[in-house]
Amino acid sequence: MFTRTDDKITSTQASIFLTDAVLGAGILTLPRGVTEIVKTPDVWLSILFGGVVIILVVFIMTKLSQQFVGKTVFQYAKRIVGRIPGGILTSLLVIYFIVICGFEVRVLAEVTMYFLLEGTPIWGILMPFIWVSSYLILGGINSIARVFQIIFPISIFILIIAYILSTRIFDINNLRPVLSNGIMPVFSGLKSTILVYTGCEVVMVLVAHMQHPKQAVRAMITGISIPLTLYFITVVMVIGGMSVDAVQRSTWPTIDLLRSFEIAGLFFERFEFPFLVIWMMQLFCNFTSFFYSSSLGISQIFGLPFRSTVFGLMPVLFLAASIPQRINDVFSLGDYIGYASLGMFVLVPVLLSIVLLIRKKGLKQHV
């Protein structure tokens, strides 16, 4: 067949989609969020442990989704727990996605307004961002995945270069001593590290769109491992470059890391510029993936046309982004989203899996 009519994505695209969904605002705030709690340089261990936990979570979600080929969570939840309960559960998921959307775009607006566009009203940043994103979403998951695929290598490339350059202020002593306060701080940091992986719930939407659902487990694990690695490198570089003490006192530690050195002689003397560029593109991807998931969710739960839900969600997202009044509200919203993600995890994949197991194995029903 020459022209493709099915809206399916390849496994690579699915991996990148998941990576982009997870890699968002966290890359700027994560080092501080975790360091504030852990207070020792062992933060990187928390990230690794958190990553292991989240890989397990993703594994469960993927396995669950694989039971229903070509169906998203919005569709199969109804089949597992019934029409109304399923609708309520997935509506919660949609609301959760919408809140994440608002949060991400709000963080973008805050950072942009602070570092780049002082004086621009917030709607001047939010609106065009939402519009461009919706233009992309109207092209369907295939277009979205393709744009992600273009942006992803650029981001990785710049990110790696930025981190390589920041080795000039990297001091391994900032990461020592290991486990000076024992293992407990590491576990206390676990809570806030898991929060940066919020959004991995898109897995349950993504698997349905895969061309080869059989490869889903591998693709999803790859997809979650990339942000895990990147977060890990980020934390190591930020703490190594700035030390735990400075990280705790910085609002946006990763940007501050890149602002802490200048490379004379290179065209970009200041590397926060390319970093901010790719970070904005990354946030665009992040935002788009949740925007897509939530509009798909609404259209599938309530049987509305996809196009109208995209249009209908635009003002909702704008409002969601406008609700926090101070930067503290934004950060605490981020924390709430983190807790909500735990709740979502228990409510949706775990509950659904258990019910499914009981119905299939225990009651021998055909679902």
Partner: protein, 547 residues
């Protein structure tokens, strides 16, 4: 709890803004659908009344035929009726032809001389030679011509005459012989001007479709290449040929091309550009979705990649479909030179494409929005040079960019001898004078020059135009939101390009959808031994380049 929640309810202004967030895209959407229905109305040709025109055979009555022809064609001053008698008999005959479209020598020597000087045969035989016999006698013994088609219908005769045939009518014969084939004036084959190369063949297509197809055939001997002809144009018809490799091309693609050509409904197709615009996927897109080329060698290698070429009579530009964005940045020379310089040049061109698109908007965002992102020394230098420039950077850059565009446009129309001189005068003097006058800063002259030069480094002229056009949109974005605007523009462009398809092939393949095998021929041009396969994206029948 409740009062706390109420605290967070946004003000009415936010609600209005939220409404605006919805309103604007709705308006845009309505606008684009309206435009689309306006522009993209590809109404398929009404099923033509395939009822054949009423049969109107020639009768053989010479005087009657003559009158009929004169009545129908006599208005044309360039249609000539040459009446004579066959030598040795009083049988009247007549040549009908259009002035300037036939070969005079051939008509004089091979036709008129034979018919008027040589006695046909003995007197006695002549009487028997009537009707069928006379015709076959002329064909078999008298006229030394390679082929003498016969026409029996008046309508067909008329068309043949107007398209340049010389018709011979003889008393008593219910047919006309086409004794002279049209020999239109052609020009010499010259080097393709829009795609000149240092290394590579110097042959370019001409306006003659038969020459063009012949040129394709002459690229090498194969029994695989198929050239099919169609007639297009509802009032004035032209020949359109599609060429493809029957064992390589994807049949679905071929069918799609044929369908779209069949759907063309236009009274006259002046240039292959008409075809391009009538068969493209998205008429609202700034990007071309059909590649045009003057080069037979480029065409043939496109065919070998599994693409389809469309040639139109009267146009030296062949169309190649489908096309992807990266193809527009490649040049045949990449393959003719060794792979290392080929790859480097190609990357250079990608850089040039990026520069020509983004440099002005980056300039605007740095100068007007983010002086903090520039290196300190550069920032100070720019601030110094811009002292006294009265305009904001957008206006400043628009002034110079638009004058460069005008210069470029004027350069095409200028007579050849003064063209380069004017270019130098315009470019150098205007830039220098503008700096001296303090209207623009010297830095900007560099920026604009780099942009302009970069846009000419793109091998496809029309792709260069696209980028130049988009550059202005990028500038507008940058002038509103600075860096964020530039990024949003880039994202918008990416979104648009990923949505765009050329005959079913996504426009940004092989970058996305990612096709690793095709990357060998993307940013780098891998050594020829490595390029064992045809591009994956064309989904060719025969995948391997080598047997």
């Amino acid at each position: 709890m409740w009062s706390k929640a109420v605290n967070y309810v946004p003000e009415w202004k936010t609600w209005v803004e939220a409404g605006l967030t919805l309103l604007a895209p709705l308006v845009m959407r309505r606008l684009s659908t309206t435009l689309r229905t306006w522009v993209g109305k590809r109404s398929p040709q009404e099923p033509q009344a395939s009822t054949a025109p009423p049969s109107d055979p020639l009768t053989g009555d010479f005087q009657a035929e003559k009158a009929r022809l004169k009545q129908q064609l006599g208005r044309n001053s360039d249609v000539h009726f040459r009446e004579f008698e066959l030598a040795g008999s009083q049988t009247p005959a007549m040549l009908v032809f259009v002035e300037g479209m036939q070969n005079e020598d051939l008509i004089c020597n091979q036709v008129l001389k034979m018919l008027m000087q040589e006695p046909l045969c003995t007197e006695g035989e002549l009487d028997q030679l009537s009707g069928q016999h006379l015709g076959s006698y002329l064909q078999d013994r008298l006229l030394p011509l390679p082929g003498i088609p016969e026409v029996t219908e008046l309508l067909e005769l008329k068309r043949s005459i107007l398209s340049g045939y010389t018709a011979l009518l003889i008393e008593g014969l219910p047919r006309a012989f086409l004794v002279g084939t049209p020999s239109p004036r052609t020009r010499a084959i010259t080097e393709p001007t829009s795609e000149a190369l240092l290394r590579g063949s110097r042959v370019g297509f001409t306006e003659m479709i038969s020459e063009n197809t012949a040129m394709l055939r002459q690229q090498g001997r194969t029994d695989d290449m198929v050239i099919e002809s169609f007639e297009v144009g509802s009032r004035i018809q032209r020949t359109l040929a599609i060429a493809y490799m029957s064992e390589i091309v994807n049949p679905d693609l071929l069918k799609e091309v044929k369908d779209r050509i069949a759907a063309i409904n236009m009274d006259f197709l002046a240039e292959s550009g008409y075809i391009e615009q009538l068969i493209e996927d998205n008429p609202l897109s700034p990007f071309q979705q059909v590649q045009n080329t003057e080069r037979p060698d480029r065409t043939i290698s496109a065919l070998l990649e599994g693409r389809v070429a469309i040639l139109l009579e009267g146009s030296p530009f062949a169309l190649l479909v489908p096309v992807t964005f990266t193809m527009l940045i490649q040049s045949p020379e990449d393959y003719f030179e060794r792979w290392l310089p080929g790859s480097l040049l190609r990357m250079l061109r990608f850089l040039a494409a990026f520069l020509s698109l983004m440099t002005p908007s980056l300039y605007i965002s740095f100068i007007s929005f983010h002086p903090g992102l520039l290196p300190t020394e550069l920032a100070i230098t720019i601030a110094e040079t811009r002292q006294g420039v009265p305009f904001p950077s957008l206006i400043e850059i628009l002034i110079l960019e638009i004058s460069i565009e005008i210069l470029r446009e004027a350069g095409i129309r200028l007579p050849k001898p003064i063209g380069p001189a004017m270019g130098i005068v315009g470019g150098l003097i205007i830039g220098e004078a503008a700096v001296q006058a303090g209207i623009v800063s010297p830095m900007l002259v560099i920026i604009v020059a780099v942009t302009a030069i970069s846009s000419f480094a793109i091998p496809m002229y029309s792709a260069g135009i696209t980028l130049r056009m988009l550059r202005f949109i990028a500038m507008l974005f940058a002038s509103v939101l600075g860096m964020l605007g530039t990024i949003l523009f880039f994202l918008l462009l990416c979104s648009h390009m990923t949505k765009l398809k050329s005959f079913g092939v996504p426009y940004v393949t092989p970058v996305s959808p990612f096709r690793f095998n095709d990357w060998k021929d993307l940013f780098i041009r891998a050594p020829l031994p490595l390029m064992r396969h045809r591009p994956n994206m064309m989904k060719t029948e025969d995948k391997k380049r080598r047997s």
